[in-house]
């Protein structure tokens, strides 16, 4: 039994990352119908920035994270204004996707030039990422508890913003019907910019908490991005809660299939399962067919 719990926990630890990135992707897609292919690299740069402030500028750990998040928000604001916004006005979907791919390439190369290609250790206070507890036969890593806590706090904040603030109302309105929202006086550019910033902050938090797990390297968040993308598809790409649930489900699928499936199929099995799910429910597990799921 402990075996199952241990594997399920391992799956959750991966799933939290997929869920957060899935959420960040769905957020932008749902309100602006844009797929942000730079999301993974942007998240990774947040991790590098936090490391850079702390390790190379001797800033306290928490302050370094706050600085990194501020820089992430400002950077995202600039990216949205300079690259995405002018194209949104053209009303064509494809150039924006290409633009996000271009932004991804640019950021990846800047990151490579700035921090190099070698993996670096992201040190956390007291090296708590190296502390393990034994509870009966169940083993728990201290940093994984931080990861879980951060995930719940982040999801709660996002939930609050969406359900309790004017921005959230605007996001919901745009998700339902952009034209109607505009007619009701919801300012598109304001909703767009804050959705991007909120999405980047969720990605940034993910990049930072997973840096001690995956080690900092130029594209360490790209794999998480791909899995987050799969999670978002699994969730239907139009449901925030679906994106989160899709991420957690994918993490569990990976953990259990790797453990028990034959070695030749273990790695491919989660993708095959997602493929079968989408054959049966092309609109995803958590979205109704016409895509009118609530935020």
């Amino acid at each position: 039994m402990v075996d199952y719990i241990q594997i399920a926990w391992q799956g959750l630890v991966s799933g939290f990352a997929y869920a957060l990135i899935g959420l960040a992707l769905v957020m932008v897609y749902k309100t602006a119908r844009i797929l942000n292919f730079a999301a993974g690299t942007m998240a990774g740069i947040s991790g590098f920035l936090a490391h850079w402030w702390a390790a190379e500028n001797d800033m306290p750990f928490a302050i370094a994270i706050i600085f990194a998040m501020i820089m992430t928000a400002v950077g995202t604001y600039v990216i949205e204004r300079l690259t995405v916004r002018p194209l949104i006005k053209l009303g064509d979907f494809l150039p924006i996707v290409i633009m996000t791919l271009g932004v991804e390439e640019l950021l990846a190369n800047v990151s490579l030039l700035w921090w190099g290609g070698s993996a670096q250790r992201y040190r956390v206070p007291g090296d708590i990422d190296r502390i393990n507890w034994l509870i009966g036969d169940f083993r728990l890593n201290a940093w994984h508890v931080v990861v879980a806590g951060t995930t719940f706090v982040t999801l709660s904040i996002v939930g609050y913003v969406i359900n309790q603030t004017e921005l959230g109302l605007g996001m919901k309105a745009f998700a339902e019907d952009q034209d109607a929202a505009k007619l009701m006086g919801v300012k598109e550019s304001t909703v767009s910019i804050w959705t991007w910033v909120l999405s980047a902050l969720v990605g940034g938090v993910t990049g930072i908490v997973y840096a001690p797990v995956l080690f900092l390297q130029q594209d360490y968040m790209n794999i998480i991005f791909i899995k987050g993308f799969v999670a978002a598809i699994l969730g239907g790409f139009l449901s925030l809660s679906g994106g989160v649930a899709g991420g957690l489900l994918l993490g569990e699928l990976e953990a259990f299939t790797i453990k028990w499936a034959p070695r030749e199929f273990a790695a491919a099995l989660p993708v095959v399962i997602v493929f079968i799910v989408l054959l049966i429910r092309p609109h995803g597990l958590f979205t109704r067919e016409k895509g009118h799921e609530r935020v």
Binding site: Q10, L112, A119, V213, A267
Partner: protein, 417 residues
């Protein structure tokens, strides 16, 4: 209008015929002196034919191409290899080049993606017209690109790639390496294990990449000790974010020894997760895991871990290793870049230099090939055992050396017991 066009075409046709006719007349009325100069010309042409310089070779330059993972989770290895290539280039060029020719190389990123490696091969050969492909990294990428190299009479020199098929001289006559196959490495590893601990004392788990390379790693181990000691086989993918499930499986299987065929970052992550989940075993990393960076990333968790290598420790105290480190640091290398990746590329560079010197002025794929085949008992100053090539053996080195992390550095272990 139409008739004017026809007239114009007719005039051009007539002028063309006259020109051809005049040419024939000139040839038929050549004098004896002209005949003699024509003979000289043809004998010089014959000489030129005898010494046809290879593509990418000019009077003052030899151009190489190298496909490397400069991005992605193996980017550190690519960076290290390229730095060692720079060191080789500078050493050769600062000494005046080889037969007056400076060497140069172009690097293209493939992110360890075979499709990109194929595109890079085409780019190198068709557009950049390189002489040979040098020090590329990765079995799967190279396996995809090698047929293109072969079809275009292009040498593949000293890659960090280990697929068994590469070493078949009949299939790949222009492939030269100092890096034994993944199969040979686990074959040697199995023998070392049994010699040290005995067959009854070990239960082995193998963690290999889910590819042909990984399967050969498993086969090599099975062939070395009959497979009876192999109790668990696990695979990893390039998009793996955790090795937790594999580690839990190893714990269930009660392994005493785990062989981890990954890069250095993955190895460090594996050690980290093994500690988190309580896997108590001896850890044996493949060649790719052996770097200062794996120790830096894993910290104390790397202490005591073994490395199954084809070369000595990059930090060892031998003339060849000392020269390597001195040159690397002079070129701006960090401690983390003193690694297997850079040492392999550096050692390949030593053999390349020897081969280019032996090939002489008339440099092409065939003359360099013959030059490599003539190298025997070549000393690398202790980096590897003496290297031996021949017409039916293009792999100069077939030895396994065991390293261990002791006090934060990889050191060669002479006696495991």
């Amino acid at each position: 209008m139409k008739s004017k066009l026809w007239k114009l075409l007719a005039i051009f046709a007539v002028l063309g015929l006259v020109a051809v006719g005049c040419g024939d007349d000139d040839d038929s009325s050549s004098s004896s002196s002209e005949a003699s100069s024509s003979e000289e010309a043809s004998s010089s042409e014959a000489a030129e034919e005898e010494c046809e310089l290879g593509r990418g070779v000019s009077d003052d330059k030899i151009l190489f191409g190298s496909s490397q993972p400069m991005t992605g989770n193996l980017a550190a290895l690519g960076e290290q290899a390229v730095l060692a290539m720079e060191v080789t280039k500078d050493r050769i060029n600062e000494a005046g080049g080889i037969n007056g020719r400076m060497i140069d190389f172009i690097v293209q990123d493939d992110a360890y993606n075979p499709e990109k490696t194929v595109a890079n091969a085409q780019y190198f050969i068709e557009q950049e017209k390189v002489f040979a492909i040098w020090a590329s990294i990765g079995s799967a990428p190279l396996k995809a690109a090698l047929p293109i190299h072969n079809e275009n009479n292009t040498l593949t020199l000293f890659p960090w790639a280990q697929d068994l098929s590469f070493y078949d001289v009949d299939v790949n006559p222009l492939f030269f390496s100092v890096n034994p196959s993944a199969y040979a490495q686990t074959f040697g590893f199995g023998k070392v294990l049994v010699e040290t601990y005995g067959l009854d004392g070990i239960q082995v788990g193998l963690m290999t990449i889910n590819s042909v390379d990984g399967q050969q790693t498993v086969d090599g181990f099975k062939d070395s000790i009959g497979g009876s000691a192999l109790v668990d086989e696990q695979t990893w993918e390039r998009d793996s974010t955790t090795y937790g499930p594999q580690i839990l499986s190893f714990i269930d299987s009660g392994v005493t020894d785990v062989y981890i065929g990954t890069g250095d970052t993955q190895f460090a992550q594996f050690l980290l997760e093994a500690d988190q989940l309580g896997l108590d075993a001896r850890f044996w990393g493949s060649t790719g895991t052996i770097s200062a960076n794996s120790i830096e990333l894993a910290g104390d968790l790397s202490e005591g871990a073994y490395g199954v290598n084809v070369i000595s420790s990059a930090n060892g105290d031998k003339p060849g290793l000392n020269a390597y480190r001195e040159a690397m640091f002079a070129a701006g290398a960090t401690e983390a870049q003193i690694s297997t990746a850079s040492l392999l590329a550096y050692t390949g560079g030593l053999v390349l230099e020897e081969g280019l010197n032996r090939a002489g002025e008339c440099l092409n794929s065939q003359t360099l090939s013959a030059a490599f085949e003539s190298i025997t008992d070549f000393s690398t100053g202790g980096i590897m055992r003496p290297l031996n090539f021949s017409s039916d053996n293009h792999l100069g080195n077939n030895d396994v050396i065991i390293l261990q992390v002791q006090n934060g550095v990889w050191v060669e272990v002479e006696n495991l017991g």
